[in-house]
Symmetry: C2
Subunit: 379 residues, 2 copies
């Protein structure tokens, strides 16, 4: 490969924080990307070769954005796959492939894919409407998930009573047993077009139950090697079964009896991999670029303990964002602040993250708690 | 500090690779910078809030660029200091300060500053022209350096014979004894406006004698602690004497008898600190931003052994750049490629760098040699 990547016209569907962190890495590859995003103030707006404001779900907008590009990738799944399919048919490289995005866009298809490929997942049933769901008389409690467009905790609903059921989503959904799980874990895996596959070490997540968002992530997981080996082998199997080109985040539950159940997939860089920027030899963003550019995948070994804290918009504040406490936490060693360039905050909006790197795990955890107590995104 | 940095209108004089790597870090602080550079295809062109094509040395261009900004920094010293001084007088934060840039722009003033402050440096004399130099009959061999505008090995001339002297620079210059030195070393130091000062661990450099450019840099230096302590203490003293706000690169010679002589200063991120992006807990770019934003300085501890290899334009090739061998070296672990977004290569032009991180120093050196043998920037 003589020309390297300066000549590869590359576009990203979506110009949010994931696109922004991809750009920070793409700079190293001489790639100046084009961005399509509906928000005229998208975080990537000032950091790209060409910024197009437009809908990610409109066929002609996506098609026109992509038709003069060599390579397209995504930072969000909610995109017009028909346009991507046409672009792929016309010779544009689309990674992840449109067929993979189409499958992952629909949580029902995802679950069926797991079933067909003997990938352990919690039992599920599909419903086309609330009426259909009510008629089935599924025993409480259970989780209803919209098949499409749910993300960041939206589109997920716990049904514990008949009253809850009346408020259930009236749209195509899947219903899963309520799983009592011990831990939520995640493995990020990358596959390049030469079928090279590499996982990142398993991470553990702590959720903010109120926001239903990952708030705190620990890398590497302290679970027994036998468990993390199983989790990583599952991620490899899924990437291989899907034949995805690019990054795949695999979210899993570890149940009380030690079973691993795959929860859901994201075919792109993911919140559960942000710690890798400082915490692993290769970041998830560099790895995604290596995979889609057809380059050898990088070493994913951990550099010390990493804890990632999401900076979410404080409850009760909506408006022009201000950041309290950052100067205080920057006095600590091994603190890495990443702000996402979002002008406006609202409750639970992802405004940035902070990664702590510390050789001592307990120190890392104390620093993470201090960050949570100290840094506030208000107005 | 509530607002953090999104509201701080920040500009950089110069839009080359140093500006580019500063931008990669500034993104984390929510800062979208304005760039002034004479080259319409400057490496930062697509990565900034506002790109202004214009001269860095023209008073009104620099003044007009800066007059609506809150903070200005530089990535090159050859800028119009009078304009910066006027901007500072009018309340714009200019870091490093105009008086520091003015001093460092002139190697003669630098040397006099060393002398006045008891900073060890090789003996020197100042000359206003070649005729003046010829008349002085300085014994051969010696080094003539232009007082102004020399960089990347330009503006430095070894005079060993009367014939050499005829070709000497006919401009204000300084003449230094030819120093037989054992090693060239460098220390990067940062000072913020609260007088907090922190050094990076001392690095050793290997030069390409043909190009007179740093080609290979090893961090940390393997010199005895006593030597690196002295080097780092000198860097602290210089930053403190200068009262600089921002980063200062201090290049030094270690002579055969163990004396450290300060060679020259750069008041900005520097080639001798590129390894810090992956090789230190805080990179030189993050540290410069912390210093000029008035934030606490970051931990500079090393992460393993780091070797930085400059990717220079191959001799005999001038034109649209192509990169040979990058896919090969990306198979190795711990390899970080940084390309600078320059369309055109010419002999010895700095086109990028590669950093090797390896716990084993000998392995790191072998990988660096392999990179030098494998990666070629041609057309």
């Amino acid at each position: 490969m003589k020309a390297f990547y300066g000549d590869l016209r590359t576009g990203i569907l979506g110009g949010g924080q994931l696109g922004r962190m991809l750009i920070q890495e793409a700079i190293n590859f001489n790639v100046s990307v084009d961005i399509l995003d509906p928000d005229p103030n998208a975080p990537c707006k000032d950091l790209c070769n060409r910024f197009v404001q437009g809908s990610l779900t409109d066929f002609s907008t996506v098609y026109n954005f992509g038709k003069n590009l060599d390579l397209i990738t995504i930072e969000i799944e909610k995109v017009n796959v028909d346009a991507l399919q046409k672009l792929e048919d016309e010779g544009v490289l689309v990674y992840p492939q449109p067929r993979v995005i189409r499958l992952i866009q629909d949580k029902g298809l995802q679950k069926e894919f797991f079933k067909q490929n003997d990938i352990p997942t919690s039992p599920f049933r599909l419903f086309s409407s609330r009426r259909h769901l009510e008629a089935a008389g599924v025993p409480f409690p259970y989780i209803q998930k919209l098949r499409r467009d749910g993300y960041d905790g939206r589109g997920v609903y716990k049904v514990s009573t008949a009253a809850d059921l009346k408020q259930a989503f009236d749209a195509p959904s899947l219903v899963e047993d309520w799983i009592e799980f011990d831990k939520e874990i995640a493995v990020i895996v990358a596959r390049n077009s030469k079928d090279e596959i590499k996982t990142f070490p398993t991470v553990e997540m702590e959720f903010n139950p109120e926001a239903n968002l990952v708030e705190f992530l620990i890398s590497p997981s302290s679970l027994p090697r036998e468990v993390t080996d199983r989790a990583e082998a599952l991620a490899v199997k899924i990437a291989s079964d899907l034949k995805i080109t690019g990054l795949l985040a695999v979210e899993m539950f570890l149940t009380n009896d030690g079973t691993i159940l795959v929860n859901e997939l994201a075919p792109r860089p993911h919140n559960s991999g942000h710690h890798s920027i400082e915490g692993n030899r290769t970041s998830q963003f560099a790895q995604h670029l290596r995979a889609i550019f057809g380059l050898p995948l990088g070493d994913t070994a951990c550099i010390g303990n990493a804890i990632m804290v999401n900076l979410l918009g404080e409850q009760g504040f909506e408006g022009l964002a201000e950041y309290e406490g950052l100067d205080k936490i920057l006095k600590l060693d091994g603190i890495y602040v990443h702000l996402y360039g979002k002008k406006f905050t609202k409750p639970f909006r992802k405004m940035g993250h902070v990664t702590v790197i510390d050789d001592d795990r307990d120190n890392a955890i104390s620093k993470a708690r201090l960050i949570q107590d100290t840094v506030k995104v208000k107005i």
